[in-house]
């Protein structure tokens, strides 16, 4: 494992998102991707993914057999 000092020395400062919501927020505030892919497309995409994740949450808590079955039937 690299230490924090070694990590910073390499110029590695940014963490990856920790969950879909952080990733969706990053996308919605990314001017380049919003413009290149299309703002309407991206906003609709995020809305649908959020609703999908809500359905997934209704299937069961993360790690439960019910939820895993719901997800793997669809991915």
């Amino acid at each position: 494992m690299l230490t924090e000092a070694e990590r910073l020395e390499l110029g590695v400062t940014q963490e990856l998102p920790l969950n879909p919501d952080e990733a969706f927020q990053a996308l919605l505030t990314d001017e380049l991707l919003m413009e290149s892919i299309g703002e309407d497309l991206v906003r609709t995409y995020v809305t649908i993914q959020e609703l999908y994740n809500k359905k997934l949450a209704e299937a069961g808590p993360e790690g439960s057999a019910e939820r895993k079955a719901w997800l793997t039937a669809r991915i």
């Binding site: 990856l16 995409y45 993914q49 997934l56 669809r74 991915i75």
Partner: protein, 420 residues
């Protein structure tokens, strides 16, 4: 799949056509955002050389990566083409979850209004593993307008601002028009497979690349998948047992991006169907114990690279590769919205799991970070899993990389050889 969309022909031919079109005053479509789609000749040639085809499967992939299909009799598709129209369907068809329409007041999700499936005829191929009665065509989701008679009787101008496939094609076009670059993409598709019927054969220990493990029951199945795909023009380079419970991996050949993502869709669905036919349950699950990823190899190559000698090709790649990578890293967090849309996806971004790591970084042959550099101008992007909207992810990667080249973005992250 031999993919030749009109705009991928030499630029001069395209400009000539544009000039011709502009002379026709009544045309009111926007030239900047529209695309001319043809390929009807490929379609008629395919039908003539595959006399057994009776059905055409028009396929599209929605925002949550569900593959959807309308199966038309060949006769009906031909009559639509003759009438100068396309298959119309409700415009919410990119936004459904299973059968349900979430209530959103946003285009294209509203349940009123029409869209069309615009066949990309160049993608026509036989349905893998069937007897030749079925052909498959990938489609754009949008609307098409006929060109004036005298220019073409079969070409359409396409407007598809919501279509993921169209977004990827726009990125490819930008590479060609603005940067003289093209791209190759290949996938390492991971999944798990468990025997369910009739009687599971005696188990073998699941070992990474283990011979006994693959011989246990998957070798004939994956051989069948590969043969079926080859007949449909999708090339698998290799397969093996992966290093987590019940996991396997298929590697697809590097191809131009749109063809590559279409091929991934076909490979994934063919694997699923062939497993099911053989009493094997196939699944893609990003969290432990399976930890199935979908590593995406992306490379930058000069446009028309067959005209370059190896040295000239190296020079072009050397000029752009750092900026391209810097551009991708600058947008990597946002790109996770396409690559990892499920909470389960983030089980792969914890440290020490040989997946994607915690930080935005890259490293030559480093498998504990989100980007492994494999060769000059070739990177393995390790964040996606099978829940990714891959058309949008690859489109986003290309747009981000090209933005780095455009701005001359400096690569401020050094080559990482450790893990965090």
């Amino acid at each position: 799949m031999n993919l030749k969309i009109y705009t991928q022909r030499p630029l001069t031919a395209r400009l000539d056509l544009k000039a011709t079109l502009l002379l026709h005053k009544p045309l009111a479509f926007r030239m900047d955002r529209s695309l001319i789609v043809d390929g009807y000749e490929t379609f008629t040639h395919f039908i003539k050389t595959h006399r057994s085809v009776q059905f055409a499967h028009l396929q599209w992939i929605d925002y949550t990566s569900t593959v959807r299909v309308r199966t038309l009799t060949l006769k009906h598709l031909e009559s639509l083409i003759k009438a100068g129209t396309n298959l119309a369907l409700c415009r919410h068809y990119l936004c459904l979850i299973d059968i349900g329409l979430p209530l959103i007041d946003r285009d294209p999700g509203r349940p009123a209004g029409q869209c069309h499936l615009i066949p990309d005829f160049e993608t026509i191929h036989l349905y893998p593993g069937t007897t030749g009665e079925h052909a498959v065509i990938f489609c754009y989701f949008g609307s098409g307008t006929r060109l004036p008679r005298g220019i073409s009787t079969t070409a359409l101008t396409l407007s598809a601002p919501f279509c993921p496939r169209r977004a990827l094609l726009r990125a490819i076009d930008q590479g060609r028009d603005e940067f003289n670059l093209s791209f190759r993409v290949g996938f390492e598709f991971e999944f798990s497979a468990v025997q369910t019927s009739p009687t599971p054969s005696p188990p073998e220990v699941h070992a990474s690349s283990g011979l006994r493990a693959i011989e246990a029951f998957m070798l004939p199945i994956l051989s069948t998948v590969t043969t079926r795909l080859a007949a449909a023009g999708v090339h698998i380079e290799q397969f093996h047992c992966e290093g987590s419970d019940d996991a396997y991996e298929l590697v697809t050949a590097h191809r131009p991006p749109l063809e590559a993502v279409d091929a991934l869709v076909t490979a994934k669905e063919t694997t699923r169907r062939t497993c099911r036919e053989n009493g094997v349950r196939m699944a893609c699950y990003p969290a432990p114990p399976e930890i199935n990823g979908l590593h995406t190899n992306v490379s930058v190559v000069p446009l028309d690279d067959e005209h370059y000698g190896p040295r000239a090709r190296q020079d072009v790649v050397a000029e752009v590769e750092e900026h391209f990578l810097a551009g991708v890293l600058a947008h990597l967090g946002a790109l996770c919205a396409f690559a990892m849309p499920r909470p389960e996806s983030y089980a792969r971004t914890v440290a020490g799991q040989w997946c994607a790591g915690r930080y935005v970084s890259w490293g030559t042959e480093n498998r504990e970070g989100p980007v492994r550099k494999r060769a000059p101008g070739l990177w393995e992007l390790r964040v996606p899993d099978a829940s990714a909207q891959m058309y949008l992810f690859v489109a986003g990667v290309l747009f981000a990389g090209m933005d780095g080249v455009r701005r001359g973005t400096e690569l401020t992250v050094s080559d990482c050889q450790g893990e965090f």
